[in-house]
Subunit: 157 residues, 2 copies
DNA sequence: TTTTTTGCAAATACTTTGCATAACG
DNA sequence: CGTTATGCAAAGTATTTGCAAAAAA
């Protein structure tokens, strides 16, 4: 819980250590899910992770992926992000912002540096502990915008 | 698409007018879903709306509620918010922020005035049109925090 | 060896869809 | 009256859970 892991490998280590510290067993499956997640640059959903891990652990089940994600999220090692379609998981706990495509559900990271760190007054009414603050920008991603243009032929109202 | 409706009734009118302007028929069911939504101060999910409207239109089906929500969201009259559990719908299109409770899924509005309007640079890489910008603050709401305390007895690590 | 975790299968929750009927304009 | 929307039922997708077998410590 001290240093922010920088490299993929450090992050993987940090995730595994945190689970072991809680007395959880480091199974083959868990380790591979963690490895996949630690190296993820986007925000995979459970099924993407399942398909990726299955390449190395062909017998893994979706259930185990779900359970591992729940385990990691409960410890705040990763963040579960409600997203259109399926929940996505963010392994990066440093301050950053999100762009969410309303067409495809993809989430793109935006550096906090580019947008500044928002200031949140403490003691907001009806609010207890705050665990994350981030800008959520919604819209259509470049890729989906390109598809739209093709489909509609650029004559929108 | 001009003035921001202030009162519940104005908003209801604006929603209905926008649909009529698109040649959609103003059915009893649609009108009641719109009415419920226009007066919502929280961010109801489909089932909450269904149960509320059913009091006045006992024969309405969940499907119709879902379809009406999709119709309104497609026109940006309301915003569909991916949330843990079920999607929630925000009838307020003026600038404001959200606090999301990670325990119960509840979403609380925070006035833009209290937190300032974030500035977003245009032309972000990989991003097309932007439809909404808002701060998303996650944590535990006051109510859930109170329950936690009861359950754990305040001795957490 | 004891306890935890896995994989399977079944269950649950949310949301969408095809189709015949009913309602709007 | 012609077209659109509704309600029903069924299907689809995402996620959770009980349980016996397998694996970790």
């Amino acid at each position: 819980m001290d240093a922010i892991p920088e490299s993929t490998h450090e992050r993987e280590q940090a995730f595994a250590d945190a689970l072991r510290a809680d007395g959880l067993r480091m199974t083959h499956q868990r380790l591979e899910v963690i490895r996949e997640l630690a190296s993820a640059t986007h925000h995979p959903d459970a099924d993407e992770l399942f398909r990726a891990v299955r390449e190395r652990v062909p017998t893994i089940s979706r259930d185990t992926v779900y359970r591992t994600l729940t385990t990691l999220a409960a410890r705040r090692l990763i963040e579960r992000i409600a997203a259109p379609g399926a929940a996505r998981f963010d392994p990066d706990s440093s301050m950053h912002h999100h762009f969410v495509c309303t067409e495809c559900g993809r989430i793109l990271d935006l550096d906090a540096g580019d947008l500044g760190e928002p200031e949140v007054p403490s003691g907001l009414p009806g609010i207890g502990e705050i665990t994350s603050v981030r800008l959520e920008i919604k819209g259509v991603c470049g890729e989906c915008a390109a598809h739209e243009k093709v489909r509609t032929g650029d004559g929108g109202s």
